[in-house]
């Protein structure tokens, strides 16, 4: 149903009368502020929702300033009818007139309350009791009526119960999908309630106290805890029983084992005792044996001593006899020896005389040879001394000549250097000096400078090098001064003079007239030096130690000759006797003399050795005699002592036969006791004492260990008995059984609860899924209308609505999800308008009413505005849109010209 005409008079600022014609689709009513756009909308709203007889503040707000009765007429129509309703809000005097005209031709006119009610029914509005109706009573109007300043609010908040049911009816009718109504909601609620008793919001089984699953689980835990504690006790009991059985078995074994060990120990002890007895007996036997052996040894010793003593006596008698015989024989030999001693003395005297004679001859010959040699040596030294003296004189003479010559080699070398320097300087001066050549044309005296005068004959030529200004006086005729032009000639000349001066000074110092003189003297010096060196060499050869040494040697040689000549005289020769030459005969004589001396000396030595040997033999013989006599005396003394001892022994221990009897007796006793000892040793070895001791120790230790173990086992058994018979075990069997039964019951209950919870979860999920899918299908017509509008506004945007058509969230690409409350102002009015249009389109299937928008797009930017204009134009194809604005330019082109209403013009007209 669309509004075709609005007539207003005396309504608020619109005193009117005002008549506005509207068309289907988009209508834009514009005008400046306070011209009455919102008042116009309120007037239309008042007609649609209020009884004409309203009173109080609501009506008072309609009454214009200055008074008057507000009156509003609407003309509406749809495809089947048209109606005109006029309401005069005159308080109790108010009136309503409704004229209904069917397309089919029917007509009806109603007045008053009947007209109000009929119109309410058509509008889907329920009458209010007193005052203005709230949104809940106004059907779809709150949704499609956008008052100024409310465009940015959530449109779903304007869906009242009636509208919601209408929407559901329409969507059910369109989709054929049923939501189930209140019965289904009740089922949801109860299932959810049950579900919440088992599950948390996160979908986990709730373990909070007071909830059935948690209580069942706690009961089971408690029962299991009790059961577990009892089982632990039971296991301990069983373990103790097992231990007790083991300990009892061990005790039985030990009780059986200990007597056996004791028996074994007794046997071991008997064996040890037996060994001890044997050892003791053997000790005694050993003592007796030792005693017997000692006695036997003593008897043996005594017998041996007796035999030895008798042998010693016999030997002593023989020794005495022998020593006496030797003494007698020695005395005879000594006497004989002493008789031959004089013969040896004579022979020695003869030999010594021959030796003295030979030695004197040999000495004389040797002295002769020595004096001859000394004389020859004296002569040779004397000769050398003469030669040396002559050479000494020659050297002295040469040295004196050398001293006289004065120039030495270094002087010559220096002179040569200076001369060479003077020559060089002179050559350089001459090379640089002017060369003056004078040719005498006639005889003439030419004086050069102040010193040189030359007489020249005609035709002669003389040439001079002139290094400084030099006058040439030619006779009397002319004086020519030659001045050389060289710059350094003066210096060069000076250097020549210095060099010459140095040379002259050196010549004077060396004592030479010139360099040639010096060089000649040096040659002479060389020759003299060679002569002196030769004399020196000869001197050195003749007298290496010098002349004095030769003189000393000559004196010594003379002394030697004199001494030898004196010795010759001493040995019987004459001082002058000397051989002239030491020849072969002399040497033969000398050798023979030496041989004779050697032979005589040998003979003397032989005679002396013979005498000495004889003396030694004599002393030996004498000593032997003395010794023999002494030995005989000693042997006799010993013999006496032995004889005395033998007599004493016989007196003390018996004669030899008795000694033998005793010895045999003790020997037999020893043998007998040794046999007894051997037998005891064998018996003891058979017992193996060490094994017996070890075996005994093992038995003692084994028995002690067994007894210790038994004591420990007894203690352990007592402990286990105490544990096994403790009071808390009584009734444990029943308590364990009860606990197991209680645990089983609790387990069954928990199993039931778990199964119930699983079934409930499945039921809840199945219901939620079914409901979600149903609702999705149910809302499809609405979403089919809404989504294109949203896409036009914000491409990619989706929206989620809940069962009550509330906006849950928007989702936009690149932005994410937003609830309506988080949208910006512009977005809120844009999205709100789009949602309203979509809902209005759905609702228009049953009841199409104009969508009224009073300045609803005040925050929208120009870009979005253009998109909204497209959306409004689109919506206008199925809905009547009445837009009030003070900015008509923003809606330009949206409505047809005749549907763009300038309210101000309308008021004027």
């Amino acid at each position: 149903m669309i509004i075709r005409k609005i007539k207003i008079e005396n309504f608020g600022v619109l005193r009117g009368p005002l008549s506005v014609d509207l068309g289907s689709g988009v209508n834009v009513i514009s005008g400046p502020n306070r011209i009455g756009k919102s008042t116009l909308m309120r007037a239309v709203h008042a007609v649609m929702t209020l009884r004409s007889k309203i009173t109080g503040g609501t009506r008072e707000r309609f009454v214009p300033y200055g008074g008057g009765t507000p009156e509003v007429t609407l003309v509406l129509e749809d495809a089947t009818r048209s109606l005109t309703i006029t309401k005069r809000f005159g308080g109790q005097a108010g009136s309503t007139t409704l004229a209904l005209r069917e397309v089919s031709g029917g007509f009806r006119q109603l007045q008053g309350t009947e007209a109000d009610d009929a119109f309410y029914e058509i509008m889907g509005v329920r009458p209010a009791g007193r005052g203005a109706p709230g949104d809940e009573l106004c059907g779809v109007l709150p949704l499609i009526w956008v008052e100024q300043g409310t465009s940015a609010t959530d449109p779903s908040h304007k869906i009242n119960t009636d509208t919601r049911e209408t929407l559901r009816d329409l969507l059910e009718a369109e989709t054929g999908v049923a939501l189930g109504g209140p019965d289904a909601a009740r089922v949801y609620e109860r299932v959810q309630g049950q579900y919440n008793r088992y599950y948390t919001g996160g979908g986990r089984l709730t373990l909070a106290a007071g909830y059935p699953y948690a209580d069942a689980k706690r009961d089971l835990d408690k029962a299991d805890e009790t059961l577990s504690a009892l089982r632990v006790r039971e296991e301990a009991h069983i373990a103790a029983l097992t231990s007790y059985a083991c300990v009892s078995g061990d005790l039985e074994r030990l009780d059986a084992e200990i007597p056996n060990l004791q028996g074994v120990l007794t046997s071991a002890e008997e064996r040890v005792r037996r060994v001890a007895d044997l050892s003791s007996a053997m000790g005694r036997t050993e003592s007796a044996l030792r005693l017997a052996k000692a006695e036997s040894n003593a008897a043996n010793i005594r017998s041996a001593d007796r035999r030895q003593l008798r042998e010693d006596v016999r030997q002593a008698i023989i020794a005495v006899s022998n020593h006496q015989t030797l003494a007698e024989r020695g005395q005879i030999s000594l006497d004989s020896h002493r008789f031959t001693r004089a013969q040896f003395d004579n022979s020695l005297v003869v030999a010594r005389a021959a030796d003295d004679q030979g030695r004197a001859e040999l000495r004389r010959l040797e002295l002769e040879r020595d004096v001859t040699a000394a004389r020859d040596q004296l002569h040779e030294v004397t000769t050398q001394l003469e030669t040396a003296t002559a050479q000494q004189l020659a050297i002295t003479s040469a040295n004196e000549e050398l001293e006289r010559l004065g120039v030495n080699h270094s002087d010559v070398v220096e002179l040569r250097r200076l001369h060479s320097e003077a020559e060089v300087q002179r050559a350089a001066l001459e090379a640089a000096a002017a060369r003056v050549r004078v040719k005498a044309l006639g005889d003439v005296a030419v004086r050069v400078g102040d010193e040189i005068s030359v007489s020249m004959r005609a035709g002669e030529t003389t040439e001079r090098a002139v290094a400084r200004a030099t006058p040439f006086v030619i006779g009397e005729l002319a004086e020519i001064e030659v001045v050389p032009g060289g710059a350094d000639l003066g210096a060069m000349d000076n250097r020549v003079r210095i060099a010459n001066a140095s040379l002259s000074a050196k010549l004077r110092k060396a004592g030479a007239k010139s360099l040639a003189d010096a060089e000649a003297r040096e040659n002479t010096r060389g020759k003299l030096k060679a002569d002196a060196d030769t004399a020196q060499a000869v001197l050195s050869q003749v007298a290496g130690g010098g002349v004095q040494a030769l003189e000393h040697r000559a004196a010594v040689a003379r002394g030697t000759v004199q001494r030898l000549e004196a010795e010759i005289q001493d040995v019987g020769g004459t001082r002058s006797h000397a051989i002239s030459q030491v020849g072969a005969s002399f040497e033969t004589r000398l050798a023979q003399a030496r041989q004779g001396v050697a032979t005589a000396a040998t003979r003397v030595q032989d005679a002396e050795r013979s005498s000495q040997a004889h003396d030694r033999a004599e002393r030996g013989l004498d000593s032997a005699v003395v010794a023999s006599r002494s030995a005989a005396s000693q042997a006799n003394i010993q013999l006496q002592a032995m004889t005395s001892r033998l007599a004493s022994s016989v007196t003390n221990v018996g004669n030899d036969e008795r000694l033998e009897e005793v010895r045999v007796l003790h020997a037999e006793t020893s043998i007998m006791r040794q046999g007894a000892l051997d037998a005891a040793t064998s018996a003891l070895a058979a017992e193996n004492p060490e094994n017996s001791q070890r075996s005994h120790a093992r038995c003692v230790a084994g028995l002690a260990e067994a007894q210790r173990q038994r004591a420990a086992k007894l203690s352990e058994r007592d402990r286990l008995e105490g544990q096994l018979t403790s009071g808390d075990l009584a009734g444990m069997h029943e308590r364990l059984g009860d606990a197991e039964a209680a645990s089983a019951v609790a387990r069954r209950v928990l199993d039931q609860q778990e199964r119930y919870a699983r079934a409930l979860a499945l039921l809840n999920k199945t219901l939620v899924d079914s409901r979600s899918q149903t609702q999705q299908a149910f809302r499809e017509p609405l979403m089919r209308r809404l989504l294109p509008l949203l896409q036009s506004l914000h491409p990619g945007t989706s929206v989620e609505l809940d069962d009550d058509f509330n906006i849950v969230r928007f989702a936009r690409p690149g932005v994410g999800e937003d609830s309506f409350g988080t949208l910006s102002g512009g977005e809120s009015e844009q999205f709100g308008l789009v949602v309203r249009l979509a809902l209005a389109q759905v609702l228009s299937e049953r009841q199409s009413l104009p969508v009224m928008i009073d300045d609803g797009l005040v925050h929208t930017d120009d870009q979005r505005m253009q998109r909204l204009l497209d959306i409004l134009a689109s919506a206008g194809r199925s809905l009547q849109l009445i837009i009030c604005t003070c900015h008509p330019e923003r809606y330009r082109g949206l409505a047809r010209t005749e549907q763009c209403i300038d309210l101000e013009s309308s008021l004027r007209s």
Partner: protein, 376 residues
């Protein structure tokens, strides 16, 4: 003639893992009461003594009240009671129950626990009991191996010879590797026994013309091997064939039942079976169920099972009843909308073979309950 009672395996103080609380206590009380029942039989049938072939107690750690009560009941029989320890109460253990002061204080002179193999003459030498006590829980030896034809004749040369032992006869355990406490059944002949009173097998069983297991006098498991008896044995003299009579003394019955339910009629049949159980409050039932029921049928069965669980001393359920919603039950959840969609999906899962089938069936049942206005 000699007349005596032979019993074994009372296992007094036994705890039942599947039975908790008061019912478990009742079961233990019944086992004590059966001692009194044995005493009544003994006196009524003029038995001259009672033999207990091992396992009088279930464990050494039973509580003192059980021991005292048992000893008191045994003493109250008024006849000689000869007891050998078995593998549950071996006599050699340090904490052997027979050594407990509470037992010794209450059992009096007539109750004798035989911890040695020494022959025990009875009835002025007209009979001799040859005990074969178990001193440890397990032994690889035959505890009767000391029984020869001469054994005990120095004590009682010509009396009736009665062996008393606890263990499995070798024929039983032939298939069991490493079996312990074995007894050679031929010992009866070898040892010249007139009767061998055996314990360990919980059902009444004759293993030789002169050897019997009395079985436990009070059943303790779902095994149908004729437990719950004592044996009244009569012997006319040495060499005579014993006459053995089973006398029932048990308080409880252990019953197994299997049923398949697919309909209300099946549930009704099961209910009728339960109604026919004799002395249900002293009966323990192992009920194995199979099949599938509608929500309604399943709910009804659950209600009945709860009632039966309260009725029987024990109702042990095994097997599983699947729930299979009928078309009406599914429609009752929702006819349209997401709830119906969910119900259809759960029904599909429940009808499949995945691991979630059971959960889905329960979820569907819960949904049905919620949609019907109840709680899940």
């Amino acid at each position: 003639m000699i007349r005596f009672l032979h019993t074994a395996d009372l296992q007094l103080g036994r705890a039942f893992r599947d039975v908790s609380g008061d019912r478990g206590a009742r079961l233990r009380e019944y086992r004590l009461d059966v001692v009194q029942a044995i005493g009544r039989v003994a006196r009524h049938r003029q038995a001259q003594f009672v033999l207990i072939a091992g396992d009088l107690f279930d464990a050494h750690t039973v509580d003192d009240r059980t021991i005292t009560t048992a000893a008191h009941h045994l003493s109250a029989i008024g006849l000689p009671v000869l007891v050998i320890p078995g593998n549950h109460d071996p006599g050699g253990d340090a904490d052997a129950v027979f050594k407990r002061a509470s037992f010794r204080a209450a059992c009096g002179d007539r109750v004798r626990v035989l911890l040695s193999q020494d022959p025990v003459p009875l009835l002025n030498g007209s009979a001799v009991v040859l005990p074969c006590p178990l001193l440890s829980r397990h032994t690889l030896r035959d505890t009767t191996e000391h029984l020869t034809n001469d054994f005990g004749r120095d004590v009682v040369p010509n009396g009736v010879r009665i062996g008393l032992a606890h263990g499995a006869v070798i024929d039983f355990a032939r298939e069991e590797e490493g079996a312990t406490n074995l007894i050679d059944a031929n010992r009866v002949s070898v040892a010249g026994l007139d009767y061998l009173a055996l314990g360990d097998w919980h059902g009444t069983l004759q293993v030789h013309d002169r050897a019997w297991y009395s079985g436990t006098p009070e059943p303790d498991r779902f095994k149908n091997n004729d437990p719950g008896n004592v044996l009244l044995v009569e012997l006319d003299g040495s060499g005579a064939v014993p006459r053995v009579e089973k006398v029932r003394v048990a308080h409880t019955r252990w019953v197994e039942h299997e049923a398949t339910v697919h309909s209300d009629e099946d549930v009704t049949v099961l209910s009728e079976w339960v109604g026919g159980v004799e002395s249900p409050t002293n009966t323990l039932v192992r009920l194995t169920l199979d099949g599938a029921l509608s929500f309604e049928g399943s709910g009804r069965l659950d209600t009945l099972l709860t009632q039966w669980g309260n009725l029987f001393l024990l109702l042990k359920r095994e097997g599983e009843i699947r729930t299979a919603a009928t078309a009406e039950e599914l429609a009752a959840i929702a006819t349209a909308g997401p709830v119906k969609t969910a119900a259809d999906r759960l029904a599909a899962i429940a009808g499949g073979a995945t691991v979630q089938a059971g959960d889905a069936a329960l979820a569907l049942q819960m949904l049905h309950g919620i949609a019907a206005g109840g709680v899940a």
